[in-house]
């Protein structure tokens, strides 16, 4: 069969909605925090699950509601577009201390009014000692806390925020509405016996589910009433009709099952936004939207009740709304997740649970919606397998060619068996979707805890050279002075020992946080839409899901590979240098001067720590620090020697050039992270599974990492994901892809991320698209898992740095997501520009 591939025009409404969204800087609003606190104060002493449900209800009863101009799909979490609520139950200290800088910081600034500051300050007093982050801290070992302080890994995501990172049972809400879920909970409740050992917990959980679902229904009714009211006072006939329709739709859904595509769209949106009011967890991913919406679309289309254009407009409206939600993060995390991204991953195409191709009209229309709206949300992905229709891949390639960085391409042929190896049934594995950046899971059955921490694989390598010391403190095991190591095996074993030690601490930290969430922030609303919480009578946070994982991600494989390889060759095989000399060279940053931007950053860090220790700091002192930081102390003779070493390192083979020896070496190096991880368990009854991707943390965490033996200079970015280090893959895209495919993508079942940057000329014309599709197919044939592309010329990005005002809507692929280029920090912008640009020849 031939799919409908004719272009569908963008309705004028969509541009108006987009323009309205980006009129102003996003703002922080206090309503949710105030309501939450009121409710918590009134429920002291009650079971936590009940308190959560009551707070959710209280919030939904009183949160200001607004229908924005021109909207067809309604429901907003904040008064102002792209605003954000705050979630003090997870953490609050960071925001309080950043009140005065959050508006002016470089990454993801937010406006906050004086009034909001005062309101929040008042509310915050209540939360001292009550947050998940405080409880998590007290559960962690001292060693884990020290490791975090020294930047060995950062569990920041869930340490300070909700978990998110899931796809709930949208199809169930679309089919039976919250009324149906309430019935299910009531039935389960009726089956309990008062004498059951776990009656108390189960019954309270089920009551909380019922209360939360009722709250969602009532919230929609508020919108129905508001729309009806607005209709009465609207003079414009067309708009009045639209508002009347909104009123009618919100009366029906999400309380009952959707009877039309229109209702299905609105019902979907309520689910999507309410999840993000209950908790601050991001990466709430719509998943296989094209699959669960299709029956509603098809029915209306066949019955002549809906045109393709109308369906497209509704989808476009949802795409816009996904950008209306926002989240403020602490300054450091904002750099790691730069671009105001909520990572709501929506995926099209792929197989159904029986292994047949499931691409449909809506898969194509999802591409079109992304093209029409041209915004960073949703994080749009496509699934590819042997049976993927060529025309769908070409349509996806057309979107890639626009430079928006979407879609990301995922390989069914790797992900399905990888998930099976983690215990998913074949049917469930085939029905996977992607969470957040690159993390696969089976929707509505999984609590994946994807994105559980960033683990910088370069840091343990630094510690090998310092015998476990960092900034003078013994934070890692004593693996021996490098000067005494006689064989490469000794050196590699030291690295493995450092890795193993910090992986265990990472697990300790994640599990401490996990327990804290179960105890302080179980989420009844979220749990109502994930199997088998209702059946088991417990929340997702307590292990209610069928599949439970913790997925912390490692990055820096390319640097570790190139670096270990350099040591192996130059020290132990060619015997040209000693490890002692390597160490000196690394300490001296290979005799290189630091660039002024980096030096300034480091100076600021040093200054901040001096001030924090209570000392005064003069202008003169700062100048001295800067000069010392920037200048290199090495003598000219030493500099010459270091330069020679650097040249020798640069002449060695590097990961990313299709050379078997070093590529297979990279495979082994990646195992130093992925293999130990599999042996750990989490408190929800699941296991740890590694991912290999950095989001955008390779830049800020690189800025905390000294020089590495691959010739990477101190404080510069670390290689992103499984991609070769920037600028080191010089044999073209096929060679680079072949290298990356030699890693084991199955064991990294929490996802791998391979970034490629193309010059626009490479995708020119139909033949450019065809070749691009062949590249994706070829990489996937060789069992790569994920691929994403930036198609923007270096000149364009440079110009955007100079004239940000001209490029307000320039979207680029950052890591597992796309963001507006001009909102990224300078360091991240540079990193994106420096990724190797592949051209067709």
């Amino acid at each position: 069969m031939k799919f409908y591939t004719e272009p569908i025009e963008k309705s004028p409404r969509i541009q108006k909605l987009v323009d309205a969204l980006y009129e102003k800087m996003p703002q922080i609003e206090a309503d949710r925090a105030v309501l939450l606190t009121e409710s918590y104060m009134a429920t002291e002493g009650e079971p936590i699950i009940t308190r959560r449900a009551k707070a959710f209800r209280h919030i939904l009863e009183h949160l200001p509601i607004v229908i924005r101009e021109n909207e067809l799909i309604v429901g907003a979490a904040t008064r102002a577009p792209r605003g954000c609520q705050v979630f003090p139950e997870y953490s609050f200290e960071w925001l309080e201390s950043e009140f005065d800088t959050v508006e002016t910081r470089t990454a993801d600034p937010f406006y906050i009014s004086e009034e909001t500051k005062q309101t929040l300050s008042k509310v915050y007093k209540y939360w001292k000692g009550k947050t998940t982050s405080e409880l998590a801290t007290s559960y962690m070992t001292d060693a884990a806390k020290i490791a975090i302080d020294h930047g060995m890994f950062t569990p920041g995501n869930y340490f300070y925020n909700g978990i998110g990172h899931l796809t709930v049972d949208y199809p169930k809400v679309l089919a039976v509405g919250y009324r149906g879920i309430i019935k299910e909970a009531k039935d389960a409740r009726a089956k309990l016996s008062a004498g059951d050992a776990d009656f108390a917990k189960r019954s309270h959980f089920l009551d909380a589910v019922i209360m939360s679902c009722e709250a969602a229904i009532a919230y929609a009714k508020r919108y129905s009433e508001l729309a009806a009211q607005m209709a009465k006072t609207t003079a414009d006939v067309r708009r009045r009709k639209e508002l009347e329709e909104i009123a009618a739709v919100c009366r029906e859904v999400p309380e009952y099952g959707a009877k039309s595509f229109r209702e299905a769209c609105q019902s979907f949106w309520f689910v999507q936004m309410l999840l993000q009011i209950e908790s601050s967890g991001h990466s709430i991913s719509p998943g296989r939207f094209d699959q669960y919406m299709y029956p509603y679309y098809k029915k209306d289309l066949d019955a002549g009740k809906l045109t393709r254009e109308e369906a497209q407009e509704l989808m476009d409206c949802i795409w816009v709304k996904l950008n209306d939600l926002n989240k403020v993060r602490d300054a450091a995390s904002a750099e790691g997740f730069a671009g105001y991204s909520l990572f709501q991953n929506l995926i099209a195409g792929g197989q159904d649970k029986y292994g047949r191709d499931a691409t449909n009209d809506l898969s194509f229309m999802s591409v079109t919606a992304t093209e029409h709206v041209f915004l960073p949300q949703p994080s749009f992905s496509v699934r590819v397998w042997n049976g993927t229709p060529h025309e769908f891949l070409i349509r996806a390639a057309e979107l890639t060619r626009t430079g928006i960085g979407f879609p990301a391409y995922y390989n069914d042929e790797v992900i399905i068996p990888a998930l099976q190896s983690r215990g998913l049934t074949l049917e469930d594995a085939r029905d996977y979707n992607i969470i957040g950046c690159v993390e696969p899971q089976k929707a509505a059955k999984t609590d994946g805890w994807h994105d559980a921490a960033f683990f910088n694989m370069c840091r343990p390598l630094e510690l090998v050279f310092s015998n476990g010391k960092d900034k003078g403190v013994q934070i890692g095991p004593r693996t021996g002075e490098v000067e005494t190591m006689r064989t490469y095996e000794e050196f590699e074993n030291a690295y493995r020992a450092q890795m193993n030690y910090f992986i265990e601490l990472l697990v300790n930290a994640d599990n401490a946080i996990d327990v804290a969430h179960a105890e302080r922030c179980p989420l009844p609303f979220q749990s109502s839409m994930v199997e088998d919480c209702i059946g088991r009578g417990k929340s997702l946070q307590e292990g209610g899901a069928i599949y439970n994982f913790t997925g912390p991600q490692g990055f820096g494989i390319a640097n570790v590979t190139d670096g270990m390889y350099a040591v192996k060759k130059l020290v132990f095989e060619d015997k040209k240098y000693t490890l002692g000399f390597f160490k000196k060279a690394l300490d001296a940053n290979f005799g290189q001067e630091m660039d002024s931007q980096m030096a300034a950053k480091l100076t600021a860090q040093v200054a901040a720590s001096i001030v924090a220790s209570g000392k005064e700091l003069t202008e003169e002192d700062i100048k001295t620090v800067y000069t010392t930081v920037k200048a290199n102390k090495a003598s000219d003779e030493e500099k010459k020697q270091y330069a020679a070493l650097l040249a020798d390192i640069q002449a060695l083979p590097k990961f990313g050039n299709d050379e078997d020896e070093i590529d297979l070496f990279a495979r082994e190096m990646a195992y130093t992270y992925t293999k130990p991880m599999e042996s750990y368990k989490n408190p929800r009854g699941g296991i740890f599974q590694a991912g290999l991707y950095p989001v955008s943390a390779n830049v800020p965490l690189g800025a905390q990492t000294g020089a590495t033996p691959d010739g990477r200079l101190a404080f510069t970015p670390i290689a992103d994901g499984v991609s070769p280090a920037a600028g080191r893959d010089v044999k073209g895209p096929t060679a680079s892809a072949n290298s990356v495919s030699r890693l084991d993508h199955y064991i990294a079942s929490n996802g791998t991320l391979f970034n490629m940057k193309f010059h626009p000329s490479a995708l020119e014309g139909r033949s450019g698209l065809e070749s691009f599709a062949a590249l994706v197919r070829g990489y996937f044939d060789q069992k790569g898992s994920h691929m994403q592309f930036n198609v923007v010329s270096r000149e364009t990005l440079r110009d955007a740095q100079k004239h940000p005002e001209k490029y307000k809507s320039l979207v680029v692929r950052v890591a597992g997501y796309s963001a507006l280029f001009t909102t990224l920090s300078k360091g991240l912008q540079e990193d994106i520009i420096n990724r190797t640009e592949q051209q067709g020849f």
Binding site: T734, N738, S771, L775, R777, F841
Partner: protein, 264 residues
């Protein structure tokens, strides 16, 4: 089993992977060194001489040329097999320089590629003895052959060689090759008039089996290399043909009854 042809030696100066604007699909191009012609506009001047040369590019001196065996080249070619297959018609292209000037090497390389199921093409001036060309043809899917001018004098003036042998070979190749595509670099002051192109197109049409003719617009991308080799680029003053001009010439080709195309 004896596979001594894999040991056949040849001289190349580059292997270019993921070549997507030079023939159908994803291709790997092997650039052989040494050419009988000296076209004034040549964008790969380092391909012309047989002997190794130093070329300065971006301040770095690089030795151009290396001797390799068929087996070594195949190893590199085979690495992108999956992409050739996925792009439908991708494969290996021998370019130059002139592959006909290293017939043992070219024959062995083409034969081995075909045995591995890789589709093959050659880009050639056609300037060689027909017996030599015949050795290669069984292993070539597509012959991309330059017809630069039908006028012998003009041809000699701009390329240093007469075109009689080339035109004669074209007639034979058209009969014997699996597929022959005629290509013409469009060079202002040499062959960029409508009548120049029409003559070439009519000649191509007269060959009987030729269906396609590609017009390759002159460009100056290789001009820096002349300085890098210590030579003089004599066409620095020539402007590339405009898009409109190329379109006009394309319609000339199509009027003759061939499928025309701008670029490779």
């Amino acid at each position: 089993m004896e596979q001594s042809y894999l040991e056949t030696k040849g001289r190349i100066f580059n292997i270019q992977r993921f070549s997507i604007h030079d023939g159908p699909g994803v291709r790997t191009i092997v650039f052989l060194k040494g050419c009988p012609l000296r076209c004034r506009w040549c964008c790969n001047p380092e391909s012309q001489e047989w002997h190794f040369e130093n070329m300065v590019q971006g301040g770095v001196t690089k030795l151009v040329g290396r001797d390799v065996t068929v087996g070594e080249v195949l190893e590199e070619i085979a690495r992108d097999r999956v992409y050739y297959r996925r792009s439908g018609f991708g494969g290996m292209t021998l370019s130059g320089g002139e592959c006909l000037w290293q017939p043992e090497f070219s024959e062995a390389l083409l034969r081995a590629a075909k045995e591995m199921g890789i589709s093959t093409a050659i880009e050639t001036t056609g300037y060689a003895e027909m017996d030599v060309i015949r050795r290669l043809l069984p292993y070539v899917d597509t012959v991309l052959m330059d017809i630069k001018h039908v006028d012998g004098e003009k041809h000699k003036e701009f390329t240093t060689r007469d075109n009689a042998k080339i035109l004669e070979n074209a007639r034979q190749i058209a009969k014997e090759a699996n597929c022959l595509v005629v290509r013409t670099p469009v060079i202002p002051t040499f062959n960029d008039t409508e009548s120049d192109i029409r003559s070439i197109a009519e000649f191509a049409k007269s060959l009987g089996t030729v269906r396609e003719m590609h017009l390759l617009p002159y460009h100056r991308i290789g001009s820096d290399k002349y300085a890098g080799l210590g030579r003089t680029y004599t066409m620095a003053h020539i402007e590339p043909p405009t898009k409109e001009k190329m379109q006009t010439l394309l319609s000339v080709v199509e009027r003759v009854g061939l499928k025309g195309q701008i670029g490779g």
